[in-house]
Amino acid sequence: MAVTRLGRNENLNGWAFIMPALVLLGIFMVWPILWSLWMSFQTGRGAMTQFGGLANLERLISDPVFLRALRNTLMFLVIQVPLMIVLALLLAVALNNPALKGRSLFRTAIFLPCVTSLVAYSILFKSMFATDGVINGFLETLHLIDAPIPWLGQPDTARIVIILAITWRWTGYNMIFYLAALQNIDKSIYEAARIDGVPRWAQFLRITVPMLKPVILFTTVMSTIGTLQLFDEVNNITTGGPSDATLTLSLYIYNLTFKFMPSYGYAATVSYVIVVLVAILSVLQFLIAKDRK
């Protein structure tokens, strides 16, 4: 195909806009990534490494702790990401209604969790979910439970606490993206729909969601990556326990690198499991987004 003069100009402009970012990424991203890929083929302890070929992959498959961490991480992903995305979207739409009083107050309130310090909120979550904490007290007052639940002492309840904690912290954050995107929708579309008598829920499904699709896709991909790299909450609230019930891949990578005998090669291999998972999930998410067009 012959490139027209305009086409070539367009192409040059395209490169000009992305070049500064590409140069920086080439130095500070691509190069370290190649290095870490090379590292994932190394075995050994600390600074004494040798080429191990696929030894790290073999270790991965037979490592019960890795398999536990993988299962937990996927469990968090499947339950938490959809929950948070839907919640954030509904909140954003509710707060975008100009008739709503106190909008800026609500907006700020719901944004607050992601700026609340991790130290503060992990102490608070632990104390709220302690056996003699306020949550059990509340549930007992309502006669929903007979005996206090040791939230952080049992695998399943500890997982619930972690899911609540991540959702609490990141819903307002995701809401920001939706709020910003909602401003970019032409109000006249809603006007037309209202005149045609389209009900509110149908407006939401047929106008809002399709118009927000690029940003929904963005937040879904980002939240997927974020949850696959989940570290802060589990490290501060449960340290992966009890019985490794909340051990995530990232926490395991951290342990392999800093807590256990340093095996950087194996840690890098586990890191690339996350990359492979993201690749698979992102392709799926993009495909689903395309299908619905």
Partner: protein
């Protein structure tokens, strides 16, 4: 994939000259020290530095404190990168990790045998930092253990200090039941995600997770079985403890006055004294595991030591500093005991006045004297290089044991996980 360093540097200098605000300038004789608690080991280092600078005005100190986990991340990243730039001259390392660092980064730390007389220190502290006959640490604080208990609550239940001397863990559990029954207070705060107690029990019988050759000492080990069985007995007696989660929750369980005792390292003294319960606390020797040879009332939890980096430009000054202040100055150890509550492992320090002083907070008991007596009795063990791996495997089984799970199954599961983790 080689980066042209000067070129990159120039490009960066051109583009971002404003952001290269500060660069460290290496002074002729500045010793940089990394440590992790500005009120504890940081403060003791400040005191030691002041003493050394008084005699050597040309030497200055730059003491940088990080969170402990942060320090470990920094140190390991930098050691692994193979560049020595940015490494300190002296660094504090927790004892459990000593062998791990020494063996995975050979040549990174300087042996101190020529400068330090190690016979002056608690033997177990020297052993843990020795590789092939070379010792690399200046032993710092000890984690000598004791049973801290609320003397008022135990008196209410009918137990005085004498009743807690030379007891076994079975007797301890009976006492705990009586305390719970008569006062309503649980005896312990227990975090089922923390295997520290198992470590204490193991070392008290002179054993560890590993054999001398580094192979796991778990399956078919009478000592490991005895330690885990003892802890399982406590865990299944659910009425005597309060389940806690995490460090602050654990310390809060006794500083709030709810829990009647805790068995842990001597460094907890400061935390207990900060709780404003003067005269209500006492310290007893650690209970003993029954029916196993070599069982003692002395053990250790945690503790740390100072290491000199081989790459240090001020290596000689750093070693001289450690050897003279930390390795000889008895008066210095009195000062850090009084001010920071730091029990060093320098044995001669025990003869100083501060160690024999009675402490009103503990009802006039000479607690430092007790601890330093126990210090000399701690069985020496080799912590090996995989302590944290086994610890994680042990902790993973604790909730099952607490629910009455089989001891054999737990040991088998721990052994299997350890096998896959040790590579």
């Amino acid at each position: 994939m080689k980066i042209n360093a000067p070129l990159l540097r120039n490009a960066i200098a051109l583009g971002l000259s404003a952001s290269t605000l500060a660069m460290t300038t290496a002074w002729a004789e500045e010793i940089t020290v990394w440590c992790w608690d500005p009120n504890f080991n940081g403060a003791t280092m400040q005191e030691a530095a002041a003493r050394y600078t008084a005699a050597h005005p040309d030497v200055t100190f730059n003491i940088v404190d990080f969170a402990k986990a942060d320090l470990e991340q920094k140190l390991q990243t930098q050691l692994a990168s193979g560049t020595t730039e940015g490494l300190p001259d002296i660094v504090l390392i927790e004892d459990y990790g000593a062998q791990k660092y020494l063996l995975s980064f050979p040549g990174a730390f300087a042996p101190l045998n020529d400068a330090v007389d190690y016979s002056a220190f608690a033997p177990y502290k020297v052993e843990l930092a020795t590789v092939d006959g070379q010792t690399y640490s200046l032993p710092f604080d000890s984690g000598v253990t004791g049973l801290f208990y609320r003397s008022d609550l135990l008196a209410e239940a009918g137990y005085d200090a004498a009743a807690l001397q030379d007891i076994t863990w079975d007797q301890f559990i009976d006492i705990a039941k009586a305390v719970k029954e008569k006062t309503g207070h649980p005896m312990l705060g227990i975090d089922l995600n923390d295997a520290g107690a198992v470590r204490i029990l193991l070392q008290s019988i002179g054993s560890w997770y590993f054999n001398a050759d580094g192979t796991p000492n778990i399956e078919n080990s009478a000592e490991f079985r005895a330690a885990l069985e003892t802890y399982a007995k406590i865990l299944t007696t659910t009425e005597i403890y309060k389940p806690v989660s995490g460090w602050s929750d654990y310390t809060g369980s006794f500083t709030s006055g709810e829990v009647a005792s805790t068995f842990t390292g001597v460094w907890m003294t400061g935390t207990i004294k900060a709780a404003n319960m003067s005269g209500q606390w006492g310290v007893a020797p650690l209970p003993r595991i029954d029916g196993i040879e070599g069982a003692t009332h002395a053990s250790n939890l945690g503790g740390s030591s100072w290491y000199v980096l081989e790459s240090s430009e001020e290596k000689d000054a750093a070693i001289d500093f450690l050897a003279t202040v930390w390795g000889q100055d008895v008066d210095f150890y009195q000062s850090i005991l009084v001010n920071q509550g730091a029990v060093g492992s320098f044995l001669a320090a025990r003869d100083g006045a501060a160690y024999s002083a009675a402490d009103d907070y503990f009802g006039g008991q000479a607690v430092w004297q007790n601890f330093s007596d126990w210090l000399g009795q701690i069985p020496g063990v080799n912590y090996g290089i995989f302590t944290n791996e086994v610890d994680a495997a042990v902790a993973a089984q604790l909730p099952t044991l607490a629910q009455g799970g089989s001891l054999d199954d737990a040991i088998a599961a721990i052994a299997a996980q350890v096998k896959s983790q040790i590579q």
